[in-house]
């Protein structure tokens, strides 16, 4: 494993089960379940929405099938990874930033979006079929 050297690091935002790690780690496992509801008028009850009800939160996500284990050897001629400056605006929803080495990283995110309009959001320039292709029946 090599040593990572970063002179300056800058980040604006860190949210929704994201991590900034400075140093080495062994296993990193990030999970984020997001249920988002957007209403034309921002009125919310506070206890709405069920993760169990929607399949998006239940289906198993794809996993890499590593069926071959090549015997790998590393020769570190220069054991330093050098970066002068890093600037990141935002890290979000199981985002992972690390300065250092690790063994395994697993990250998963599940996002479910609901939109609630009070009126048909339709005009001549912007027909409903463009907003949602399955609304052709309206």
């Amino acid at each position: 494993m090599r040593t990572s050297v970063v002179d300056t690091f800058e980040d604006n935002t860190l949210l929704f089960s994201s991590v900034i790690e400075i140093g080495d780690t062994a296993i990193v496992d990030l999970k984020a379940d997001i249920f988002a509801i957007q209403r034309e008028i921002p009125f919310f009850y506070g206890h709405e929405g069920s993760f169990n009800y929607y399949t998006a939160f239940r289906v198993p996500l794809l996993k890499a099938n590593i069926y071959e284990n090549p015997s790998t050897s590393y020769i570190n001629d220069n054991p330093i990874i050098k970066v002068d400056h890093i600037k990141i605006l935002g890290i979000s929803t199981s985002g992972y930033v690390q300065i250092g080495s690790t063994k395994d990283i697993y990250a998963q995110a599940r996002v479910f979006d609901v939109r609630h309009f009070l009126h048909y959001p339709v005009s001549e320039d912007y027909p409903l079929t463009e907003i949602h292709p399955s609304s052709r029946g309206y």
Partner: protein, 63 residues
């Protein structure tokens, strides 16, 4: 199968990133195994058009 990696000099000046989002990884270092996955769903029933504020079904213990 035998596989040999020779790591030589690496020096990066500047990295500017807008966002690292939804199960993404930004790594300055070595790793053995990285696995990321994400799901994004907006099915037809997620578009509601109506004047009443019917709350979505809350989380229940029964399900």
């Amino acid at each position: 199968m035998n596989f040999t990696v020779v790591n030589k000099n690496i020096h990066v000046g500047q990295i500017r990133v807008i966002a690292v989002a939804t199960a993404s990884v930004f790594l300055v270092g070595d790793a053995e195994c990285i696995g990321t996955s994400s799901i994004f769903d907006t099915p037809p029933e997620s578009l509601i058009i109506g004047r009443s504020f019917i709350p979505l079904a809350p989380e229940s213990d029964g399900l």
